[in-house]
Symmetry: C2
Subunit: 157 residues, 2 copies
DNA sequence: CTTGACCTTCCCATGATGGGAACCCCCATC
DNA sequence: GATGGGGGTTCCCATCATGGGAAGGTCAAG
């Protein structure tokens, strides 16, 4: 095997994308079919490694495979308008911010509840009391402190 | 059917847990098997609704079904030490904070990149340049600090 | 030639959720 | 009594990206 051609395992080691994932990316069309040896082994060259590192980096930034498909197409198109790339990035930022706000709401509510819970061997527990509170219908809570009510927790800041 | 017994659809409407999910919770053991009519319809009473609302609220706070199993057991045990509940809540808080930090790292990186990208019809694009940067070799991701170390990056809601 | 590391494909599981098919049941209305 | 509609039942499939593992072929070193 010539010096600049690697097996899938080597490519995986050098790019941080597992061999399993490389095959899956190929199967689903994110990557074009790899070159094969006579015995059927996949072979990867420098350009392939470059693409794999691109994918890995994009995954690390939370992009979905669908978004990466678009990013790769733009990357390969040397005449692309950067506006297209920026739009994808901004969608991703919006999505990340939305998810962060959601988790933040949950975390804050739980922190309030945990603060109010002694955490000793007595059974009184504001956390369970909150979970069990039956009157969580319409907008009205009597839990002191103005915690996240349903709807705020899931939705916004 | 006596007045205080509801079908699964009614129970779903009154608790915010979908009928599908109620069946699934039962199938996986989070809920005990529901009472059945002669024709095989599931029946739910007030206590069941209470439990379902408990589950719904816990899901809204991001608890996994596994954690909810534990919380339900503690809820039903009137002699439980609140320390057990608090410990579960704190694990959840830790997990939420970790996920938030991960997403926050991605968002900040992307925001920097997007800020540096003109987003016009010219092809120059710092976002693609970053994704394509080849100097991000295997074992050394210099992002070590706060970012996406692979894992629950995409943990959805 | 054997051994062991590596490759191939294929199937299965994850977690929580929804969609939909095929079929049964109940009640009200004609 | 027949019929229709709405809702129940079970079962299978899809998501999204990932890993685990089995069965079998390949390659290089000893």
């Amino acid at each position: 095997m010539s010096a600049d051609v690697l097996t899938i395992g080597e490519a995986a080691r050098r790019t941080g994308v597992s061999a399993k994932m490389i095959r899956w990316y190929e199967a689903t069309g994110l990557l074009p079919p790899a070159a094969r040896s006579e015995a059927g082994y996949r072979h990867y060259g420098e350009a392939d490694l470059h693409t794999l590192r691109f994918i890995r980096r994009a995954r690390d930034l939370g992009f979905s495979v669908g978004a990466i498909t678009d990013l790769l197409a733009l990357w390969r198109d040397r005449a692309r308008p950067s506006a297209g790339v920026k739009a994808i990035a901004q969608e991703q930022i919006t999505d990340l911010r939305r998810r962060i706000a959601e988790l933040e709401g949950m975390a804050r509510t739980l922190e309030h509840l945990a603060d109010a819970c002694c955490g000793d061997d007595r059974p009184e527990c504001p956390i369970l009391d909150d979970l069990a509170a039956a009157d969580r219908g319409p907008a009205r809570r009597r839990l002191a402190g103005g915690f996240a009510r349903r709807g705020l927790v899931r939705g916004g800041t």
